[in-house]
């Protein structure tokens, strides 16, 4: 069973639908016991980092997620959920993340040329790093996925498994052992996105 962490941030409709489409048994929950009983955990999220991190801490689920990840349970962060896996974010101030992956979140405006639009929105190709992640076992390098973001993960090169070119190579996905994250939205990335979710569900 895959547990989708519900902490009052964003809309889980599409994620639930896409997990159903790949045959996963998914449940939306804010219950610590359900997270502990689950085989896998997905941490979604949209909106501002500080607000979302505060909401997650307020539920007390942040420590449950960390405990379960430490036990080796597969964890996938999506979009802001991926960003929260890192140590720190500099989105409107300075905020602590879960610290499961080394690195931090900074504005993409710091690295992309000034004539590029912000947010980075639309379909972009994935460039894999040297070792192809198991998360990508059903897809190919150059496949397109759907992005919507204005901040990105940096100083996380050792955990980066894919980047997307947008005037600079932006971190598109990260993984460190059982902890994984996608900056893009697999639930909005057509068959490529479904194939990534399927691979995660088979971890």
């Amino acid at each position: 069973m895959v547990a989708l962490v519900d902490y009052g941030v964003g809309n889980l409709f599409s994620l639930v639908s896409s997990l159903a489409a790949v045959g996963a048994d998914a449940v939306v929950t804010s219950d610590a016991k359900v997270l502990r009983d689950a085989d896998k955990i997905i941490l979604p999220g949209v909106g501002a980092f500080g607000d979302a991190a505060a909401k997650l801490r307020a539920t007390g689920l942040d420590s449950v997620i960390k405990e379960e990840a430490a036990k080796g349970k597969p964890l996938l962060g999506i979009c802001l959920g991926m960003q929260m896996l890192l140590r720190k974010s500099y989105e409107y101030g300075e905020h602590e993340g879960l610290g499961l992956i080394k690195g931090e979140i900074r504005p993409i405006s710091e690295v992309i040329p000034s004539d590029y639009k912000i947010p980075h929105i639309g379909w972009n190709a994935l460039n894999f790093t040297e070792n192809k992640s198991p998360l990508f076992k059903y897809i190919n390098e150059g496949d397109h996925v759907y992005f919507v973001h204005s901040f990105y993960g940096t100083n996380c090169a050792e955990s980066t498994i894919a980047t997307a070119e947008y005037g600079a190579p932006l971190t598109a996905a990260v993984a460190k052992d059982n902890v994984m994250g996608c900056q893009f939205h697999p639930e909005k990335s057509g068959n490529v996105g479904l194939a990534i979710l399927k691979a995660f569900c088979e971890e």
Binding site: N11, F13, S14, S17, S18, A21, I121, W123, S189
Partner: protein, 252 residues
């Protein structure tokens, strides 16, 4: 590299797609769910649904269908038509829409854009503007293009972006339905005024019109059309292959 988006637009009334649709191998061409799946399989990058229903029953039917559709189509979905309040945003977002397009609702009440952007994020709020030249000036029209608001279009769009609109749909009334190509002049004026993504609408009649659009205006992010896709005059796969041949980045 970010790709140019090709977006079919579907008008839905009382739960059915209106305007003639003509596809081989599609059982029920008026079913929004079937048509959405078909377009998604053909390589559409995004879908726009306009609810042109007038009744409350029709509206309820629309949201039911949206839910059903969002369970089987996994590309970004934009919904417009009859969006006047935050409750309207909430209603369609809960059913799986990713973005919400406002037009007359924002003309009546500009603060709708800001309030929605604050609650759901800028990326969720699309400002759609129907624009027509009147005595050489771009004017914003309301009520489906029937009523001149008197507002200058570029200023209106800038105000929309300043208030939080994350994307702009520029629908040129002058070129709409003529199938003579997109309104490059109007689109250029908008692209030069704002830094958010701009979606071109109105005037596409053939593949070359898209090549011309993205060639002339690299700043335009997407091309939207309805009838040429629905009638099969332009197949999305063919269109994208042709764009690629012309070195315009697309998702194939």
């Amino acid at each position: 590299m970010i790709t140019k988006r090709i977006i079919p637009c579907l008008d839905v009334k009382n739960g059915r797609v209106v305007k003639g649709v003509n596809f081989e191998g599609l059982g029920d061409v008026a079913s929004p769910v079937e048509l959405a799946k078909f377009y998604s399989d053909c390589g559409a990058d995004e879908l726009v649904f306009y609810d042109i229903t007038a009744s409350a029953e029709g509206r309820k039917l629309f949201t039911d269908i949206l839910c059903e559709l969002a369970r089987s189509v996994f590309i970004p979905l934009t919904v417009g038509g009859g969006i006047n309040t935050l409750e309207d945003f909430d209603r369609v977002l809960k059913c799986g829409a990713d973005k919400v397009s406002v037009n007359s609702g924002a003309i009546r009440n500009l603060s709708l854009i800001g309030e929605a952007a604050k609650r759901y994020g800028d990326q969720c709020v699309v400002l759609s503007a129907d624009i027509k030249r009147v005595d050489g000036v771009f004017r914003v029209f309301a009520k489906g293009g029937r009523e001149n608001t008197g507002m200058e279009a570029i200023e209106w769009i800038k105000r929309g972006v300043d208030n939080g609109a994350g994307e702009i749909v520029v629908n040129s009334i002058d070129t709409d339905g003529v199938k003579g190509g997109f309104d490059i002049e109007m689109l250029e004026a908008v692209c030069n005024a704002v830094s958010v993504p701009v979606i071109a609408s109105g005037g596409a009649g053939c593949i070359d019109h898209f090549t011309e659009l993205f060639g002339a205006l690299p700043k335009v992010d997407a091309g939207l059309a309805a009838s040429i896709f629905h009638f099969g005059e332009v197949k999305i796969e063919d269109l994208k292959k042709e764009l690629k041949k012309n070195n315009i980045p697309v998702r194939l």
